[in-house]
């Protein structure tokens, strides 16, 4: 019973992390037609932010270190993402294959920067010690606090994004740009600015995911690479450009992996998940919840 509960909790926290990462990627692809292979490195930037806060800023054991980590992770990742967008990504709109190669190169550069600044070894990020314990439901079953916190944090972020996208004027502008950018430009929307801000926001959310990952274990220059392929599978499975599809994809992939792993091995679980993605793509080639479009391309 403990294993089933821990698989469930693991699955929920992995789904949350995948969702946070996939959100930025999905919106960037749906809006600008680019794929950002350096997204894993924004996760890494977020993880290292929490390491920095723990190492150098707040040495005692309090919640403020966590809050500061989130703030620093978001700002740093968003800032780097904004620079990246202005320098490189904006020349690659609607060229997804070229953007894959270019951002792969950026990811190599960012990984090497992390190795030069922080060293190539994995480091432990400092987290409030209360998070290392867990709630005990019964004497034999316990739920770790850190995974619970990740899950709750993700719900908070998703609710805010949902609220922003669908209930505010700026969110509606974002949707308009995603659906028909030329028409939005005709209506006076500064499309380029929306692009930069959205891309930066997506990268910032990935930074937040990085802080969550730092709560789970040690982090290093290649932390991002562990999650990037699963994130892409989430985006493909769920469909590009929407909140609902990404949530669905993240839940499916995040939950299936631990449960199948419990029955067979880790690599077999990945094979089965990939086969399921294949099967879904057969029935719905654009993902489970695609952006409705009337053109054939």
């Amino acid at each position: 019973m403990q294993e089933i509960i821990s698989s469930l909790i693991n699955g929920l926290s992995i789904s949350s992390i995948l969702l946070l990462t996939a959100l930025g990627l999905s919106i960037a692809f749906g809006m600008m037609g680019i794929i950002n292979f350096a997204h894993g490195e924004f996760i890494m930037i977020g993880s290292y932010s929490s390491y920095i806060i723990g190492m150098y800023v707040i040495k005692n054991d309090s919640w403020s270190s966590l809050i500061l980590s989130f703030i620093l992770a978001f700002s740093l990742a968003a800032f780097v993402g904004w620079i990246l967008e202005r320098l490189i990504i904006r020349h690659l709109y609607n060229r997804p294959i070229d953007s894959i190669l270019a951002t792969w190169g950026i990811s190599l550069i960012l990984q090497q920067t992390a190795k030069d600044v922080f060293g190539a070894n994995n480091v432990e990020a400092h987290i409030p010690s209360i998070l290392t314990r867990g709630i005990a439901i019964t004497p034999t079953i316990s739920i770790p606090y850190n995974r619970l916190l990740i899950f709750i944090f993700c719900i908070v972020v998703c609710t805010s994004v949902y609220f922003y996208l669908y209930k505010t004027a700026k969110g509606r502008i974002l949707q308009a740009v995603m659906q028909n950018r030329a028409m939005a430009a005709c209506m006076g929307v500064k499309v380029r600015k929306v692009y930069s801000q959205t891309f930066a926001f997506g990268c910032g959310v990935a930074g937040l995911a990085g802080v969550c990952i730092s709560m789970l274990g040690s982090i290093g220059p290649s932390t991002g690479q562990n999650y990037i392929i699963d994130t892409f599978l989430v985006v493909i499975l769920g469909g590009v450009g929407g909140l609902r599809g990404t949530i669905l994809g993240a839940i499916l992939i995040g939950m299936l992996n631990p449960f199948i792993e419990y029955v067979t091995s880790a690599s077999t679980a990945k094979v089965i998940v990939l086969t399921l993605v294949f099967i879904v793509l057969q029935l719905k080639p654009a993902g489970l919840v695609p952006l409705k479009d009337r053109t054939i391309d």
Partner: protein, 350 residues
Amino acid sequence: MLKNKKILYTVAIILVILPLFFMSDFRLSLLSKFWVFAIAAVAVNILWGYTGILSLGHGAYFALGGYAMAMYLKLKAQPLPDFMDWSGVESLPWFWKPFQYLPVALAMVVILPVALSLLVGIPLFKSGTKGVYFTIISQAITMILALLFISEQGYTGGTNGITGFQSFLGYQMNDPMLVKVLYMISLGVLILVLLFNRYMIKSYGGTIIQAIRDRETRLRFLGYPTDWFKIVSLATSAAIAGIAGALFVPIVGIISPSSMGILASTELAIFVAVGGRATILGPVIGALVVNFAKTSLSESMPDFWWYFYGAVFVAATLVFPKGIIGFFNGKENRKWKPVVPKWIKFNFQK
């Protein structure tokens, strides 16, 4: 471009045969490795430059061909491979047994990659998934294949791969004559593959796949079964990559899951991008230039090398989208020029 291509080709042939006489064994085997990567890059180019589908998972096909050859060479050296001994595998598994025979191994060098490509390509292309999705899924496949090979240490040698060969084609592994023989074989196969490439471009199939690259929807509406053409193109590309992998094994002496990793697969794509995408010699030039830079620079500046390498990726897409060959083909080919203003892109204008 140049007025007299025959002179150019003759000079090129002389240049590539010269190393046989003047280079040290170490450098000769290094150059043979470069030719093998060139063959794999030509394979990627067939799929990317001519069919318009980027596959970042060609390491899987390369490594499958390599493992087929490695299994044959390993069984020649040790009837029960050492890693099976360490992992507690008592006797040779049934799927290893056929690899004792050279014809089976040679057939498997082509059959295994083609089988994987059909398994992947038929569902994906028939359901009409976008090219970008195929790129990402090809990456996922090669990563998962690597994970599988690493986890089954008893059957595949795990992370260390398969090594410890004794002889190849009657030469002992440390025979200096073998180095020269392998150089000639790898160069010969490269030239054959290039000739095949040249023939294919002008053939019926080649014209269709280039049309797929340019305007696939139009071709579909004209009635062509584009999914099958893409599948065949992928299978051909996989077969050539498998052959390259098989040549890789005796030259380098080892095959491991790192050859099917994401980095190795993406490198093949960058060889093509640097050299020039839809050209015959582009992948060869790209493979030579990038590998040469890699061996000379990464030894002298191992950390800085990665910054340079990443910058190569960015430059190959932003600054030199037509590659080295495009650079020499005329000033108007040097920088990517948008047909419509950059920021207004309708869905139906590519």
